[in-house]
Point group: C2
Chain length 429, copies 2
């Protein structure tokens, strides 16, 4: 374990590593990364472990290699870039996020957390700061849950050993398993060595754009994240009967689309909490078969994404989904499956306290803020002290091609992350 | 024009041509044709002018060629197989339907009308019956409207010269025009000679499965179709804004799916005519973008297929579509486009009278029946005396892979068609 002698080698009097953050370099890397899967409207479409996502990871690995940080990859395809510490036995402090995006995603969601971690490693190196613990920049696999379900899959597999095998068998729409997709990724990045699936982590910090309007509206640069709301996701599958739109009377129809519309209406009536507007209820995916204009649809599958900060509300509302769907199924069959459930969590103690100290030291405007979005940090929270740093994003817009954050805010977030990582990497056990 | 001398050459004393209908042969051709685009569940998926549809037309042309009936093809890709008449100047009597299907279609809808017409030509030939007018079996292009819109496109172009050029420029989802697709078809069937786009037709008869339960429930074999209900079709396009499902409060959302659900609910409330159940209102296609579980959808397009026998009701209800959609658009933009409008029609006079006479002569159970489905006959109705013959289909089920009609009913329909065509081909001008 750690010895007193090696502590003495740490130079804590050197210039703050955060002063080596290069705003232009950080911005340029965002723009370079955004070319991979760029959409005509200025966003990014880069689903997990596709050729594009693998290209993005290869670029990230190349940048790390140029800085002489070695890379490793674990069975879930999570990618780690390491700056060694003085204590060879110490668990790493980690920071990172994801490089995959929504189909009409932006250039910052997830990507910022990854590039910010690399920028921090580079700045710490440039400052000549030595740390007891190693620091790693992590790229978690499939945070967005577009190609494979559930989302935040990489960090889930890393932190929950009992889930690993099942997650590796997840299939995309073409029947490709995650296991196969990771194999392809490994071929693309041969320089990344094999990493074990589960490891102790000393602490985890994730930097991210806010994805909401609070920081911008309040004029604060840094959000110290106090927690993440809970999420329940469902798939609702409705089976009716294909029928001729001109000849089939309504009394004889088993119209899956009509049933789905009745279900969504009924769910909205229960989940909409005007005027509080705290509960998030979204039907994002809605697939109809045969999806032909003159055929009464015999099949619909729609998704429900439901989020709330209060566990009692999550339980009360979420438990009504199946009943409300059954009650509005008409002559159709309906099957409701809960695909994921994540409790609300609170970030407290070491990590948010360190972020607050550093932010005050750097004299940046800041506030405590609650996260509406889910993040990989919520899984890391299960195995180590965890926290998040938010920076403002324009108009609170995210999961949208117009997503934007300023170079100055991104750099300030990187400064906070950098000194936070140094402090965490030198903190006592 | 026609001379009295040539009338004298017609042998009206020969055995009825209908007695040469071969039930097994007609059934076998259905089963052979159903192999092209066969689905695992026993149906057919054969969109217009795809490689599969072209294969089906090539098979049909080969059968005709084996019987020494020449084929021709017009600019819309409509395919004609001809048994010449004695009067070389006379306009043909035509019969036919379509070979394309819905994505989860059956083995009889459309196909029966085409194969029945060929069976009739073969029976008339076998009987040695001479007719004054030629008789043609027609395959109309893209009746189902799956690949190109609108449906019944081939017969529309044939009967409406002013629409031809516009229809030829219709594009499928991949941007392929109908004109290009017809070129590919022509390469597949080189033996079919070029046919002019518009021609006089002496009379048109279409045989079809009922696609409803009336004949089966009443125990009648032959339906003499008295008319076709009117149809209006719409596309409703809703534009909102993609947003993050976890962070975007409802008050800031422009949720296109939520708006679409509100519109469909409002439309259903107005269009559902319980307990009469006469109006047919169907939302068959419903497409969401980006269609991702954790993104508030910024775009939805849904279709409306609305049919009714009464023109006043068609006008009154159809004219409310746009208002109802606008009223339920919330914070989204909505654009409503009427993509087609077909008035209700009545089949009267020569053709249905001839069908009735023949049916009585053959001593088959029969009734007058109204068509809920649209058919190519509704366009031919604009240029010549027109009628339709229905045969029962199991459970009234159509536009469904389980669609079924018995070999005996199919053969009885063919018998009625055969003698009807002979009488029409020899009727006075």
């Amino acid at each position: 374990m750690f010895s007193m002698i090696r502590v003495a080698t740490i130079d804590t009097s050197s210039q703050l590593a955060s002063s080596f953050i290069n705003s232009q370099r950080l911005w340029d890397r965002h723009m370079e990364m955004a070319k991979i899967g760029a959409t005509p409207a200025g966003g990014v479409n880069r689903a997990a472990l596709t050729a594009l996502d693998n290209d993005a990871r290869a670029l990230f690995t190349r940048w790390a290699k140029d800085l002489e940080f070695p890379s490793s990859i674990d069975p879930m395809g999570n990618l780690f870039v390491r700056r060694p510490g003085l204590d060879l036995d110490a668990a790493p402090v980690m920071s990172g996020s994801h490089l995959d995006t929504q189909p009409s995603g932006g250039r910052f969601d997830g990507i910022y957390g990854v590039l910010c971690a690399l920028e921090a490693l580079q700045a710490i190196d440039a400052a000549g700061v030595k740390t007891r613990r190693p620091i790693e920049a992590a790229v978690w696999t499939n945070e967005e849950g577009v190609r494979f379900q559930p989302g935040c899959m990489g960090s889930l597999g890393f932190t929950h050993p009992q889930r690993l095998e099942q997650l590796l068998e997840a299939k995309d729409d073409d029947g490709v398993t995650l296991r196969q997709a990771v194999r392809t990724l490994k071929e693309r990045i041969p320089e990344a060595v094999e990493q074990s699936p589960h490891r102790p982590v000393a602490a985890f910090v994730e930097a991210h754009i806010e994805q909401g309007p609070v920081l911008e509206q309040s004029g604060n640069t840094i959000g110290i994240v106090s927690g993440i709301q809970g999420t329940r996701r469902f798939h609702v599958e409705i089976t009716g009967e294909d029928a001729h739109a001109g000849t089939t009377p309504r009394s004889r129809r088993k119209d899956a689309l009509s049933a789905a519309v009745a279900m969504v209406s009924a769910l909205e009536a229960v989940f909409h909490d005007d005027p509080d507007d705290v509960t998030r209820f979204t039907v994002g995916a809605f697939n109809v078969k045969p999806n032909a204009e003159s055929v009464v649809p015999g099949y619909v599958m729609f998704s429900i994404d439901f989020r709330q900060p209060e566990e009692t509300v999550i339980a009360r509302l979420g438990d009504q989904v199946e009943t409300l769907c059954q009650r509005n199924a008409g002559r159709c069959e309906v099957r409701v499956t809960q695909t994921s459930r994540t409790p609300p969590i609170r970030f407290e103690g070491l990590v948010p306290d360190t972020i607050l100290n550093v932010t005050q030291q750097l004299n940046l405007s800041h506030m405590h803020i609650y996260s509406g979005a889910g993040h990989d940090a919520q899984h890391l929270f299960n195995i180590c002290p965890t926290g998040m740093i938010f920076v403002p994003c324009k108009g609170g817009v995210s999961h949208n091609e117009s997503e934007y954050a300023t170079p100055a805010d991104l750099a300030d977030g990187a400064r906070v992350l950098t000194d936070t990582l140094v402090q965490l990497a030198n903190s006592p056990d």
